[in-house]
């Protein structure tokens, strides 16, 4: 009997130990793999900006350090309102307008589709993702005549927001769709309706507060897109931040200025997105 018990117990203990050992080895290997991948991708992303920063701080002699290129960002601009400052202002305003219009268009529409007309959700998704498949140059060719008319009336570069809203649609849509998918929109809205909420209250008081993170993600993506957009603004002859940076690179004899301004723009965008991100992560609202 003792032999039977012993025989019965030994393999169980061994079985229990082997997977645990295998598991920890596998976990260690996975961790190593994770760190390697993280380091490689980190270097891939961080090295070009670092090189750019180093180049912008290059002195007259190779290997020396200087902040001349950074000083020239301002001095290059000449007298009056510096074009770079004006370009930054325009890009920021464009980001705000594009974000606002994109959210105002997308959020209620997506909630409404989810709640009431789910059968058109696929078509809507297709329409929103369509701009991803259209190259910027094609958009410019199509929009050129319209923007020529706008320029004829001497309207500002802020009119670019129309096309930026179209460009931002796929990114904002995906971010918002993920947020909507994470909550039980139907049950929450029915619960609110049964408690006496109008459709507007359902959206503003129940659904939107629960999409906070998704809305923030959509804002971040849209802002990043607007701040980094060059092709359309340049081809339509508007002067936004990126177009101005290009203009600086073409008009200054010191190549370091291009890199100092590019680095400054990158830092500016990074800080802005960081602020937006932290602003959205504060403690949950109190209803």
């Amino acid at each position: 009997m003792a032999a039977v018990t012993s025989l019965g117990e030994t393999p169980i203990t061994a079985q229990a130990r082997v997977p645990r050992g295998m598991q920890s080895r596998r976990r260690r290997r996975l961790n190593v793999f994770r760190y390697v991948v993280f380091t490689l991708f980190g270097l891939f992303f961080i090295l070009p900006p670092l090189a750019m920063l180093r180049f912008s701080l290059e002195g007259a002699k190779l290997g020396t350090w200087s902040v001349t290129a950074w000083r020239q960002i301002a001095s290059y601009q000449g007298s009056g309102i510096p074009p770079l400052l004006s370009a930054i202002e325009i890009s920021l305003e464009l980001a705000v307008i594009t974000c606002a219009v994109t959210l105002v268009l997308l959020v209620p529409t997506m909630i409404w589709i989810r709640l009431r007309v789910q059968w058109i959700s696929r078509t809507f998704e297709f329409l929103c993702l369509l701009p991803l498949t259209i190259p910027a140059i094609v958009l410019v060719v199509g929009l050129g005549p319209i923007y020529n008319k706008i320029q004829h009336f001497s309207l500002s570069a802020l009119m670019l927001f129309w096309v930026y809203v179209i460009l931002a649609l796929p990114y904002a849509y995906r971010a918002l769709a993920a947020g909507l998918g994470a909550i039980d929109v139907t049950t929450l809205s029915e619960a609110a309706r049964s408690l006496g909420a109008s459709w507007l209250s359902v959206m503003t008081r129940v659904i939107v507060p629960n999409m906070r993170q998704a809305i923030l993600n959509a804002l971040l993506l849209t802002t990043a897109l607007v701040l980094g957009e060059f092709t359309i603004a340049y081809l339509l002859l508007y002067n936004n931040l990126q177009a101005e940076l290009y203009s600086i690179s073409r008009n200054t004899p010191n190549a370091g200025v291009l890199f100092s301004t590019a680095t400054a723009a990158l830092l500016f965008a990074f800080v802005l997105l960081l602020i937006l991100s932290f602003a959205g992560r504060r403690r949950r609202g109190r209803g």
Partner: protein, 369 residues
């Protein structure tokens, strides 16, 4: 000092109303979800709608809540026609099957949400919310968020939220189905206690027969968009109106028999009929397992009411014993102490208690759930 319960009772009992649904129909394309349903809830009554998936019970509740529109028919609450009224204006509290608390609000804010929409002043709103939380025993959880409390607690908060607006009607859409058995039984009793205290007219939808029988004043058994029977739990169980009701509510043995006069003869035993107008001839009699008792048979003789135990299922205080009668099997529900004396392979003699039985014209006798 008035307790929250008494205050709720005072306000809601005054407004207990009759709910009347007449000729209510609803189609989803070619599928008939509800077929000219007539159902009346008396003031302060709790009616449970019971039935299999797709029988139309949830559709009935959603039409009453205004979450869907009826294709035909009308709904009146307290004599007022609300058929075309939107959900937000129907003054009904609802508890859903899925957890429906607003995740971004605390428990207190959830309960106060309906009052806020009604522009109730802040202090009064908070007081009412706390009263309701006290009613469901969750005042200590007021400042927690839904994801910080258990499923059972969430459903209790949902109940408090539904009652906070002092609705005319309370609608419960399978509120216990996501909970484990113990919490479900506790919350079921709590819902019933609160409903009785508040005295609010309530429609409770469930697919769990035990839940329906335990909680309701009347149970409506639905099939294919129609009510097969609407009666007290005792009547539904002991005098089912149709074979579907008999088979859906509780276990039923289907045994061949012959009707003659007011009785049906099943395996040599005469049993009284529920429906005295049943025409004579061969039928299938529906016999409850608890109407069957077993005794050990040492004689070794065979007969229509002797058989062999082939299985026994332990259910706690009772056990379900399956007996092979040779040509068919029969289920008997016995006290566990009696069932343990009859292990598999035992020869037994059956006795069928002469309760009124329902018969159906179809054959294929067997025990069904």
């Amino acid at each position: 000092m008035t307790s929250p319960l008494t205050r709720t009772q005072d306000t809601a009992a005054r407004t207990a109303v009759e709910v009347r649904m007449e000729g209510l129909s609803r189609h989803y394309g070619p599928v008939v979800a509800l077929d000219r349903l007539d159902l009346t809830l008396q003031p302060g009554e709790l009616v449970a709608l019971l039935g299999p998936s797709g029988c139309g019970k949830t559709t009935t509740l959603r039409l009453l809540a205004g979450l869907e529109d009826a294709d035909a028919g009308g709904i009146t609450v307290g004599g007022k026609d609300i058929t075309r009224l939107p959900a937000s204006k129907r003054d009904m509290g609802m508890v859903f099957q899925a957890y429906s608390l607003f995740p971004h609000m605390t428990v207190r804010q959830n309960v106060a949400f309906g009052l806020r929409l009604r522009r109730v002043a802040g202090a009064q709103r908070d007081k009412r919310a706390m009263d309701m939380l006290e009613l469901v025993g969750l005042s200590s959880q007021a400042d927690r968020y839904p994801n910080q409390i258990s499923g059972g607690q969430q459903q209790r908060v949902a109940l408090a939220r539904a009652l906070a607006i002092e609705p005319q009607v309370l609608l419960l859409d399978e509120p216990l189905s996501a909970l484990d058995a113990k919490v479900r039984a506790q919350l079921r009793d709590q819902i019933r206690r609160i409903q009785l205290e508040v005295g609010i007219t309530t429609l409770f939808v469930t697919h769990d027969q035990e839940e329906a029988l335990a909680i309701a004043d009347r149970v409506g058994v639905m099939r294919e968009g129609r009510l097969d029977q609407l009666a007290t739990p005792t009547e539904v169980y002991s005098r089912p109106a149709t074979s579907f009701v008999a088979e859906f509510v509780g276990l039923t043995n289907r045994l061949p028999g012959t009707v003659s006069g007011a009785t049906v003869t099943v395996r040599g035993r005469d049993l009284p009929l529920v429906d005295l107008a049943t025409p004579p001839g061969p039928v299938t009699a529906l016999v409850r397992p608890e109407a069957v008792t077993l005794a050990s048979d040492s004689s070794g003789e065979s007969g229509p009411l002797t058989g062999t135990v082939i299985a026994s299922t332990f259910l706690g205080a009772t056990s379900r014993v399956t007996v092979d009668l040779g040509d068919t099997t029969i289920l008997a529900q016995l006290a566990t102490s009696d069932a343990t004396a009859l292990p598999a392979g035992s020869r037994v003699t059956l006795t069928i208690r002469p309760d009124p039985v329902l018969v159906s014209a179809d054959s294929a006798p067997e025990a069904e759930e």
